[in-house]
Amino acid sequence: MAKRVLVAEDEPNIVESISFLLERAGFEVLVEMDGRSALEVAKRNDLDVLILDVMLPELDGYEVLRQLRADDRLKDLPILMLTAKGQREDRETALESGANLFMTKPFANAEIVAAVQQLAESRAG
């Protein structure tokens, strides 16, 4: 069965590319464009990986991350944080709040696909 990835990102053109790439790599892709919906979808579905943008409307990425980690069922969900800021504090905040990986925009396609594959495998193992 295909592994399931939720892409929580509010830039439609970036969502379109990431979805295409992950589908080509054999993933099932769900998309949410704001933090609150992303949180609900993550709670309702059995996800293998979450790609989480930092700057999201409604709830920002850090808050989503915090709430997920507080949830017993979701505290181990592999999460890749995305940000366009790329400052060191961002990376530290993300990793301290419990993200597994952190990636700054602009990223290379191969890079993000490899990161998601790595996270999905860690889940399986």
């Binding site: 379109e16 366009a84 925009k105 602009p106 396609n109």
Partner: protein, 516 residues
């Protein structure tokens, strides 16, 4: 080389974006070079450490000057009436000289005592001592105890070191102020974030088009469309950023939030039509004629109904680049809007013209306080044929706490105003309306109308605190108002502020703390 250093410093001053560490590195190389030169100087010098460092300049200078004018030691000694061996001790800083002997030596060397004592050198010595003590240069091994000798032998180099060090200190302070501003500038942060997001979309979509050859034609076209749209948006964002940085470079000084808000009002000619339109409608809801309840009602209406209009004006203004400025502008626009609801523009401009812009009569007509009328007058659009008004509010300490300017009226931005403005006289007769016919050094004539009022709670035996409100207009514009001065009204010479004022003979002039 000094030219190079100075040029670097100038470049640095002109370049707001350059990294501050880079400056420091650029400067520390020449400083190291200078310091090595000084070390070599020491190695060649045979003078022993003198007991008194200031005296050491004096002895060295006597020797130097004597050689300069081609005078032998014996000859000079003879002219001032001392033995050559004693002069030798003086020249090698082993004996101090003062009083009559100092005068005689100076005269023989054709110098004034001040020149010989080196008053300028003493300052230089203090500057070098300071440099030698700086932690940042501790690793350079500066021979601090020998700076006097350096000044005596190589005064040009000594001055260069002091100049460079001072320039470095100023440039560093400026660079950190700028870097502080850049890292806290919400516009830049937002702009860079947007650009990175666009670049990300372009990069991803273009990689897909080039890497996936089996992609369906419609999908491929869709990704090409993304590349095109996002690139367009990206170049727009780039242009906006460049324009913003250009503007930032033009501004020689760093703007404060107050400056930003003043510029914002100035660009809008103190008039905001979106608020005016909305206020005309809201004004009909003011049914209670009592002044206090009218004001309260107007404030309530503005808070509940005009918040989004005000937000939109503030958010879309390019003049308001920082959050504190936007907050202040929002508050100022709230006050503006309250005035607009209490005195809708259509009624106000008609009433004002009929009453000759009489602030007391207008306050009566609209049941508002006089200061609200003063403020409101600045919103009258000049093209309707009404006078253009400036508005100032000052506290008892003479600080201008609010100002809506007027072109040509020179305003003190960072100093107190000219003490001769009626603005500061009005507190002698509170509640009375005072007129002043003011002549500026530029030859421009303005009419000031001023009134002081007490503010805050007071009572018998308690202090009263006064604020002064002032409207200003050109004398020509004043002709349209009840404040038009006839020739019997004396013209008073005033200025902008003492620092900018050319009236040097003015007895009320305050000395400049810097220029003396």
């Amino acid at each position: 080389m000094c030219g190079w250093i100075i040029r670097s410093i100038c470049q640095m001053n002109n370049n707001n974006l350059t990294n501050h560490n880079f400056f420091v590195k650029k400067l520390s190389d020449p400083l190291q070079f200078l310091s090595k030169t000084i070390q070599m100087t020491h190695a060649r010098s045979s003078a022993k450490s003198p007991p008194d460092r200031h005296a050491s300049i004096l002895g060295t200078r006597v020797r130097q000057r004597r050689r300069e004018i081609g005078l032998g030691q014996a000859e000079l000694a003879k002219r001032v009436g001392i033995s050559p061996s004693y002069l030798n001790l003086i020249e090698w800083n082993k004996r101090r000289i003062a009083g009559r002997l100092l005068g005689k030596i100076a005269e023989a060397l054709d110098l004034s005592v001040d020149e010989l004592q080196g008053v300028g050198e003493r300052r230089l010595l203090e500057a070098l001592d300071e440099i030698a003590g700086l932690g940042a240069y501790a690793h350079l091994g500066i021979e601090g105890e020998r700076s006097a000798e350096l000044i005596g032998r190589f005064p040009g180099w000594a001055r260069a070191i002091a100049t460079v060090a001072r320039a470095e200190r100023e440039a560093t302070a400026r660079a950190s102020a700028l870097s502080d501003r850049l890292s806290n500038d919400p516009f830049l942060g937002e702009a860079i974030h947007r650009m990175l997001t666009r670049i990300s979309a372009v990069r991803s979509a273009s990689e897909i088009v080039s890497d996936y050859h089996d992609i369906e034609p419609e999908r491929r076209d869709r990704f090409l469309e993304i590349v095109r749209d996002e690139s367009r948006a990206l170049s727009g964002a780039g242009e906006a950023l460049a324009a913003y940085l250009d503007k930032a470079e033009d501004a020689d000084r760093i703007l404060t939030p107050t400056d930003e808000v003043e510029t914002f009002f100035e660009t809008n000619d103190n008039n905001f039509s979106a608020i005016e339109v909305a206020a005309e409608a809201l004004a009909r809801e003011l049914t209670d004629p009592r002044p206090i309840s009218r004001r309260k009602k107007a404030q309530g209406l503005v808070e509940t109904r005009l918040g989004s209009v005000i937000d939109q004006i503030v958010q879309s203004s390019v003049d308001l680049a920082t959050e504190p400025a936007r907050l202040r502008a929002s508050r100022a626009l709230m006050d503006y809007a309250v005035g607009a609801v209490l005195m809708p523009l259509s009624q106000f401009s008609r009433g004002a013209a009929e009453l000759g812009y009489d602030i007391e009569a207008l306050a009566e007509m609209f049941s508002v306080e006089i200061e609200v009328v003063c403020h409101r007058l600045t919103a009258l659009p000049g093209e309707t044929g009404s006078p253009t008004f400036a508005y100032f509010r000052s506290n008892a300490a003479g600080t201008i706490i609010e100002m809506l300017g007027l072109p040509g009226l020179a305003l003190p931005r960072y100093a107190s105003a000219c003490p001769l403005w009626a603005l500061f006289r009005a507190q002698q007769s509170p509640e009375a309306v005072i007129r002043q016919r003011a002549l500026f050094p530029s030859g421009k004539r303005f009419v000031f109308v001023v009134r002081a009022r007490h503010t805050g709670p007071t009572g018998f035996g308690k202090p009263r605190h006064y604020l002064t409100d002032m409207i200003a207009m050109t004398e020509e514009d004043a002709g349209l108002t009840v404040y038009a001065p006839d020739s019997a009204v004396a013209v008073e010479e005033v200025g902008p502020s003492c620092r900018l004022c050319p009236r040097h003979a003015c007895i009320h002039r305050v000395e400049d703390p810097l220029a003396g």
